[in-house]
């Protein structure tokens, strides 16, 4: 009987063959070549400036870092869910920029005061393994009350209109904050801020343009972006509360007191609203719990749910390496 051949075996039979030849052309290698030195501040002088309490500086870095980390996670949740591919990529890019800022700030926090890093005192069964970098230990092994982000960034995602409204609020605030932070006596914070300013200016323009487009689009797009804004505005005043840590570091020439930002930030927001033909919805601020808010580690339950998802893999495999 004649044997039927449909294919001669050749070099292309295994899809995995090409993976094994040359590591160098893979952006992340095969993972076998070097121990990755992932410290995003490798070689940077992280000496704490004179006259500053290291724990206070570390806490301040957590505040700014957690804002970026939690906002980044909320944006990353939208990957593959944006209205179109371009906006999907845009939102993912903004999330990536903020994740980068979070990495630098959490690493700076740990360098200022290693004691704040979970697992630094004793290895607990649920704590990070010894090979876990400080930034990861801080991101994945702190409970909700250890997070110092403002509550604006943690509330669950709504629709695209809500996402744009939140990005307008957050990037306007953070850009103004970072512009002032470039003058920090702490060289590390000043450098992180100088880099962040360029990124945040781009985010704010993106969000502002979409706000305009939606507000002046159809009745439905206008209704959605205004609903999003009205739902978020109760969390807006919290951004300008002055926490003791912020006030102390502002006085020391290291940080920025957010209460001093309000006037400047409101002007920009009013500009966006005016061009969009929107009257600002009147809303009452969301109170804290016994006056404690996000900067004190007092959050809405949404943060616990976010963290449960964000942290589960690291906590299930505390000694895992990847």
């Amino acid at each position: 009987m004649t044997q039927i051949h449909t294919h001669q075996p050749d070099d292309h039979d295994s899809a995995y063959e090409g993976l094994l030849v040359d590591d160098a052309h893979w952006a992340f290698g095969s993972g076998q070549e070097f121990e990755h030195s992932e410290d995003p501040l490798a070689g940077v002088d992280t000496t704490v400036p004179d006259g500053v309490d290291p724990t206070t500086l570390a806490t301040y870095c957590l505040m700014l870092g957690d804002d970026a980390l939690v906002m980044s996670h909320r944006l990353a949740e939208l990957t593959s869910r944006a209205p179109d591919l371009e906006e999907d990529i845009a939102i993912a890019n903004i999330a990536l920029d903020l994740l980068g800022q979070a990495r630098l700030l959490l690493t700076r926090a740990a360098a200022a005061d290693p004691e704040i890093v979970p697992g630094s005192r004793e290895a607990r069964p649920t704590g990070p393994g010894p090979s876990v970098p400080a930034e990861d230990a801080l991101a994945f092994f702190r409970g909700d009350q250890g997070f110092r982000n403002v509550r604006l960034v943690e509330v669950p995602n709504g629709d695209f209109g809500e996402t744009i409204a939140r990005l307008v609020l957050f990037s306007t605030y953070r850009l103004a904050l970072f512009e002032r932070l470039t003058a920090s006596r702490d060289q590390v914070l000043a450098s992180i801020a100088a880099k962040g300013v360029k990124e945040l200016a781009y985010h704010r323009d993106f969000a502002g343009r979409w706000f305009l487009t939606l507000a002046q689009g159809t009745d439905e797009s206008r209704r959605r972006v205004l609903d999003g804004l009205a739902g978020l505005l109760p969390l807006w005043p919290e951004l300008f509360d002055s926490h003791q840590v912020e006030a102390e570091l502002a006085a020391a020439g290291i940080g920025v007191d957010p209460s001093g930002l309000a006037a400047e930030v409101e002007v920009v927001l009013d500009q966006v609203l005016a061009v969009a033909g929107v009257t600002r919805p009147q809303t009452a601020p969301l109170a804290g719990v016994r006056r404690l808010k996000g900067r004190d580690g007092m959050h809405t339950e949404a943060l616990s749910k976010l963290l449960a998802e964000m942290q589960v893999v690291a906590r299930e495999h505390p000694t895992g390496r990847w």
Partner: protein, 171 residues
């Protein structure tokens, strides 16, 4: 054979470091991209400084590994790769040779970065850049998205030849 002089060693280190390419823009060396900030000899090896293009640039780890590997291959035992954040990276640091390499590979090179004193002004109208299509040379191009496949690029479309292309955005 006499041991190489410090100058010759430094030259060798520079040549090895400057030849390393960007993992995401392989037509560009790290030197042409403006990411390689410093190369200096240490007692037992070499120390190089790099700066990230964007804060979240995931290519930093790969750059670090590539520099380590190439410098070790060039005979340096101890290789330290340091992060330099003293000045934020700007597309103005991409060399002319780098810009030519981008264009030759179908990526539109950045123009001069915007400078500003004082607070960054809000821009609610689309950014107007004079972007030339890297394929057909037409200046009739339009932006399709301010963000692209990597943090450093925006998406454009040529109105004449209809091809989409990427533009390295000015920062």
């Amino acid at each position: 054979m006499a041991a190489p002089t410090r100058e010759a060693l430094l030259e060798r280190a520079r040549a090895a470091a400057e030849a390393v390419t960007d993992p995401e823009l392989p037509m560009l060396t790290l030197a042409d991209l403006g990411v390689l900030r410093d190369v200096r000899l240490t007692e037992h090896g070499v120390e190089v400084a790099i700066t990230p293009t964007y804060t979240g640039c995931p290519a930093m780890a790969a750059m670090r590994d590539d520099l380590s590997r190439e410098l070790r291959a060039a005979g340096f035992e101890e290789v330290t790769v340091r992060v330099d954040l003293s000045e934020p990276w700007s597309t103005d640091w991409i060399t002319e040779r780098g810009k030519d390499a981008l264009t030759a590979h179908g990526i539109s090179a950045p123009g001069a970065a915007r400078r500003h004193d004082g607070p960054v002004a809000l821009t609610l109208r689309p950014v107007r850049r004079s972007v030339t299509c890297p394929r057909c040379g037409s200046v009739d191009t339009e932006v399709t998205s301010e963000f692209g496949s990597t943090a450093c690029k925006a998406l454009y479309r040529c109105v004449d030849c209809l091809e989409p292309f990427e533009h390295v955005k000015e920062i």
